[in-house]
């Protein structure tokens, strides 16, 4: 350093270099080329950006889905349409996901429990004495509610994993919120119920004898 300063005229370029280095340092301080972030902070950011299916399903369930139960198709209408023509019933009332070989429906109705055996609850509709609706308590699979409600569009989600995770969480809500109501020992045959939920039916030429309901709402009347 002392030798450089002692060179007299050479000190001007030296000062220029120092000034340039200082400018660069100041610039890099405000606009860094590399930004270091604590690992935990970065992981938290990724977790926040990740789709939260549990929260989404919770908001969906307590918001649009429960509201939609008021507008659901009356089950008697669906049964009558299915008996006339399953194909036309699907076209008129069914929701079909893409090029699917099944249709889903969102229905509501009232009825009476006529039997409760091995976690299978059979319900006869009002003014009828035969079981038309069946609810199976236990693990819930499929997309009857998600697709039957017609409220969610697969194209709104960045990938199908998110769309599927929602269905899985909705099914979990059925098990956690609705099945305990039905599992109540006081829910005996003879109990009159109001219900709403999803039904999934594969394409067929004949109407099914009973409809398997995945319930969103079950309430004693």
């Amino acid at each position: 350093m002392s030798s450089l300063l002692s060179q007299g005229p050479l000190s001007i370029p030296f000062v220029r270099w120092v000034a340039a280095a200082l400018c660069l340092a100041v610039l890099l301080y405000f606009v860094p080329l590399v930004h270091f972030t604590p690992l935990q902070q970065a992981q938290d950011k990724i977790a926040q950006a990740k789709f939260d299916a549990v929260k989404y399903a919770d908001d969906f369930w307590h918001g649009p889905l429960l509201a939609e139960t008021e507008n659901a198709l009356k089950i008697e209408e669906l049964i009558s349409a299915l008996q006339a023509s399953p194909k036309k019933a699907a076209e008129r009332y069914g929701k079909r996901l893409g090029l699917s070989s099944s249709s889903s429906y969102f229905i509501r109705g009232t009825g009476t429990i006529i039997s409760k055996q091995d976690d299978v609850i059979s319900i006869a509709l009002t003014n009828s004495d035969s079981a038309k609706v069946v609810i199976e308590l236990g693990p819930v699979f499929g997309n009857a509610i998600r697709d039957g409600s017609g409220l969610l569009d697969i194209s709104q989600f960045s990938n199908t994993q998110e769309f599927n995770a929602i269905s899985s969480e909705i099914n979990m809500k059925v098990e956690q919120l609705v099945f305990p109501v039905l599992d109540d020992p006081e829910m005996l045959p003879g109990t009159v119920l109001r219900f709403a939920g999803g039904i999934e039916l594969p394409d067929a030429d004949t109407a099914p004898l009973k409809l398997n309901l995945i319930p969103v709402v079950v309430a004693r009347l």
Partner: protein
Amino acid sequence: MIIKRFPLVLLSLFLGLSAVLAGCERGEQGSTATSAEESTTAKQKRVAVVISTLNNPWFVVLAETARDRAQELGYKATIFDSQNNPAKESEHYDNIVSSGYDAILFNPTDADGSIANVRKAKTADIPVFCMDRELNANDVAVSQILSDNYSGTVALGQYFVKQVGKKGKYIELLGLVGDNNTWNRSKGFHSVVDRFPELEMVAQQSADFDRAKALEVTESLLQSNPDIDAVFAGNDAMAMGAYQALVASGKSDTVKVFGFDGADDVVKLIAEGKITATGMQFPKVMAKTAAESADAYIKGKRDFPQKTPVAVELVTQENVSNYGDYGRN
């Protein structure tokens, strides 16, 4: 002066010549058309069919059906094999863009990695229609026609529990880890099977959707887990590899194999009672829908759903007679 500039001139000549040769190469790669054919089809629009791999009969059916449907609709169609290699796929896209194709029917190698390629085509105003495999982006492809893998494996998982029982040991063979189908299938299956805590997955390993790798992986897993009751394979090629390994170890009569795809060889083995079940995807339906969508786009249609799931159907010994030739009979 000339001598001074000579290296520069030489370099320019070299670069120019390279560019010309590269252009020639691009023009010919993936195409089987002769120059005579080129001249007669000068005005014919062209469709590129870019497939993740042709080293699997299921994808060959997907590719050939897409090509044939595009040809029926009046296009000159060429198949490009990405060999499960994103770099190869990227090269194909460069060639397709520079050659000015009119549409791409695309089966991606990677849900994230392939996005940049599709973006390249989009920038060049070439519409892309995905088949079977998904991209993790909704703003690049015009439309994505996808198998509903998750729902398919939910049904397969329920059948698995019925066949294997609520207690047992199994191994899972995963496909390519960068592909969404791998995880949709695995998650759909586990959404059912994991509800039964006594069904224990003793090993889960990737065999890249490849039959030979599945044979190798299963052989190795059988060494450490000789008492398994079932194998769930994320596609039929791997199911075939696993079945071969079980035959070789004398366990094919006691270990149940479940696949996914609906490949002809697996459907035949289901009919013979050697493989338990598979999920029938419909490659021909997906390929035809993609080709017809591309045709509609070229003719001016712009309103396409971003995603169209195609249902997967469970094929078992009870209904196997309804299926064959990569679809319903």
